[in-house]
Subunit: 342 residues, 4 copies
């Protein structure tokens, strides 16, 4: 069977992880990555063990690479000619412009959460609405926070139905190494509701959602508290069992040292995960409680890698490689090391 | 009328603010402050405009002060002989030991939230249970977080009743200048429920409460989201009106720059408040929403000064200066500059 | 004697402090402050005890103030008509544009360090080159870091001459409350040499200077290490004595709790200084050492208020109010509470 | 040839890296690691690809491991019986107690920088004094900062001699994930001189050293500025060439994005290094300048992994595996991926 040829446009924080995620799929291969300048991430890739072929967006950008002794394999048109589908991980707003090019070349594309919704035919989440993405040309993923908490909400929703949620996002404001943004000694409050809970309602229109967003000066993953009214009352142990059965949720115990966003990051480092990345959200076991018929719990969303699985799902839906959600996600999970399960 | 004589034991972050708060009351005077070593705060007080007489705990501690040229007025026994009541703001656990001394001298005392509940006859909050503190010898204040969110919960409770709350505390982990504690680039999660919501249920036993606590690396005040089920449905504007009428709640607008814990701190600095302190909690107007019959909103609790008003209330209750809550709190508020109102 | 009439254009972090600094001078008065929108600082000023008259830059900006119930006294032309001199504390680059207006109205002006040097006739520091600023129409102050370390270098220079310096600046990257910039969990290195040491050489051309600049995620003042080759060898105690005699340098002891930028901030809060500001740089006594003939020491520069004294000096030089440096600075120091001394 | 059997006692931040470093040496094998409780790092090791056999310190500690389903291979005595040498990476002070046990069993041991100097026969640095460690039973490594800057100072010293240094350390105060220490929004100053420059003088007694230490709230590596008087004047390009030739120094360019401690960390993550670790210190090319006959430059020391190479060197010296420094270090460097060179 020939492999699906994936091009990654934009090799930043997200793009490099999408490339690695696609390369891990037995039924996919990465034909190359596109960037506009030889960034730190490009240099690191070249100094690492298995670099992808590098393409520039425009030919005029090739010189800066060549001056560094970096081989350039062509421009955007060249890579599009080789690809079945594009993962666009360019900065917010650029994807919409790129779409016109992809369209003119007849290529399908998956966009990230920074783009506006109208860039795509479907606003997509692998678990929550896979079927809507099947055979569609342009899918847009939910952003990292939303991708993360929808996993947990959908997990309960699939089991007993969810009526409403109230979510407080404690958001890391920059990625490790970022110098272009950040706040110091400050927790910044946003208007309620935020785009993340609105996005949840777009993906899961049967659920009422509201909540707060507070930006805090950390780099290692969002912490999110979720208050959720299930359609059928769940005990704490039932809820924990549901979460433990989910391949993209890792239930962890504060008592065992998993007490923070950064403990998860340290665990991933010490375990030897590439880039210290986690695909799973973490769910802190000791934070799961019920109040009357409602459920309350706290999760950690690793902002850099969390969207990779759902982006791979999107490739499967769009082409489509699988029309059946269970079949598709089981493959994604298997190849990303989260077990051959749904 | 003779003034009530107040002794402050422990001149740290809290103690110095309690002293200033008591000194601002027309019907109270600070007879002195007790500390064990010439700290930065002691030095700052002496370099400032109106220092309080300094006492040591034990005579042997006086030399360290005298070597710095600081006059010592006596020891704990000496100041107790002059005082009607003690505000104990010593580090957690010390207050319980000091209580035996206060008791042996027949002095009433007010303890802070770091002590265990059994140090006191009553666990006290000026607004939520003033009447329970009247004429009691030993009162313990709620801690800063609990003091802050009880104000908001009690505000709604007094108006329409409150059935239950779900609270997420985003907790600053150190005060400005602290070097003995802190976390960096990390948001640490605690077991649910935390002591703060348990404390709320001790003070307001008719309300069911749960919630999360996340420690974040900031120094300027806690941010807290509150989901609250009122006994009678409230519109957003009704809720905002109730909050605006409360003398110890300052309703602020994100759109006007009040967008964070630190914006409140900067406002207090620029306004010229001593130590850039705020007695009021801030309530972010654009975060007040309803979901069905429930209310959701976000507040900021300035951890250093927030307990001052309720501590002054406690003096009034304990002696008692006023047996009527409304009368007592109106005076506290007036002298602290929050308006002559309840 | 009639007072010198000072207008402050730009009421941000620096502008509000310059206004207060000028208002504290017995021989000056602040005729008003100019801003373009009702910021948090404007609101705080109005809620405080002694607000200055507010002017807008352009009439069209007045509505936003009036909607908040804030009285507007006129526009830039109106205030210039009343002023003898302007303190321009607008964002970097705006001052250069404003200069044309000041010039057209025949008004002298003092610019801050964010402007380019060519905005002014003289690049000015009260202690290092007062005489150059006398009677000049347009002076530009050194930036906060440079203002601070020049005080210390000049202090030694005046005593025994300074041959060269090597300076490492550990720079706070934002002011308390800033949300528009910041880095998190990162120490960012700049090319050597930085503009600050170049600026020192412009002000003190007889000294050779180089050094590093590292941005760190703090808000409360820069920490700077200085290696200095004096023309005549100094003992540690001689050097400390020189620093202690300087009215704008506060020699502090780590052993007494003055162990950081934030300890200085806390001291100023606890002392009751408005906005917790310090005009003095702090010099950490236990960091003063000699190596062979060289001197090494560490200072703290409070970035928000440190330029106020030298800006007041600049008013005195420009008009001139005093042609003699000693006479001028003695007055500035006296009115700012640093003692009637030079 | 049989491999040298290495036991690692203490599997924390340092211990796990030493174990991996030893395991990478073709002529060494790790017979096991000792810890007292199933920490996050132990769990991560077991969840990773190649766990080491786990031993407990005392038998009574085995239950806690077994309850988690973790196989325990024995106690300290058991592992010592199998080992040729011990790498002790226990918390500061514990190593001294452990030494008595190692001694009673006739085992050589290498201690880390947290122990007091008298724990060892020699205070050791692979490059600066390898010969002193040859055949000695107990070696103590320099701490992370000192290990890092001695590399750079020794590099110049070996080429032209070094007369003196003045060093400013901007120290990260916690490792990623640490919750037991940290400062927030604060840069804390230590007395001059600090232990690090004293340690340099112990290792390199022919060099005069002083300098400052400032703690800052970051987790990703120390930034250090070094002013150095060489015995023979060096041009910037000569100095850069010397640094570039050093296998444990990576010369990087700010202009290429290597602008901070965290940029180095991000580079290592993106490159795919295990735990995002770097063995090399980074030297920022654009910070290398001369002033008269002196050299000034800035380095980054990755605190977690930097001592690994010199610790491996210590094994080679102590046993000894190689009596010749060049031969020993060339092997260490080769096996750790820094090139087969000295």
């Amino acid at each position: 069977m020939s492999k699906t040829k994936v091009a990654v446009v934009g090799y930043g924080v997200i793009g490099q992880r999408l490339a690695d995620g696609a390369a891990l799929q037995d039924d996919m291969e990465v034909v190359g990555v596109v960037d506009v300048t030889p960034t730190l991430s490009i240099r690191a890739m070249l100094d690492g063990s298995s670099p992808y072929p590098i393409y520039v967006f425009k030919d005029s950008q090739a010189d800066a690479f060549r001056e560094e002794g970096i081989k350039v394999h062509g421009n955007l048109n060249d890579i599009l000619a080789k690809a079945d589908i594009v993962l666009d991980a360019t900065p917010a707003g650029i994807g919409a412009k790129n779409k016109e090019i992809y369209k003119s070349k007849g290529k399908k594309a998956i966009f990230q959460g920074g783009e506006k919704n109208d860039v795509a035919d479907v606003f997509f989440h692998g678990y929550a609405n896979y079927e809507k993405g099947v055979s569609k040309d342009y899918l847009k993923l939910t952003s990292c926070n939303t991708t993360g908490f929808i996993r947990a909400v959908d997990c309960i929703d699939k089991a007993v139905g969810v009526d409403r949620v109230v979510i407080t996002i404690i958001r890391r404001v920059a990625d490790p190494g970022d110098t272009h943004r950040g706040i110091i000694d400050l927790a910044m409050v946003e208007k309620v509701p935020n785009h993340q809970v609105k996005d949840l309602m777009l993906i899961m229109p049967h659920i009422e959602a509201t909540g707060a967003l507070v930006h805090v000066p950390t780099t290692h993953g969002h912490i999110i508290t979720i208050f959720l009214t299930p359609k059928k009352k769940l005990s704490v142990s039932d809820a924990v069992s549901l979460f433990e059965a989910h391949p993209r949720i890792k239930v962890v115990e504060i008592a065992k040292g998993f007490n923070s966003n950064s403990a998860m990051f340290r665990y991933a480092r010490d375990k030897g995960n590439k880039r210290a990345d986690m695909y799973e959200i973490a769910l802190f076991k000791e934070t799961v409680v019920t109040q009357r018929d409602d459920l309350f719990f706290t999760i950690n969303v690793p902002q850099e890698a969390v969207v990779t699985p759902e982006t791979i799902d999107a490739i499967r839906a769009s082409l489509p490689l699988q029309t059946d959600q269970r079949e598709a996600l089981t493959l994604t999970n298997k190849y990303l090391g989260m077990g051959e399960r749904f």
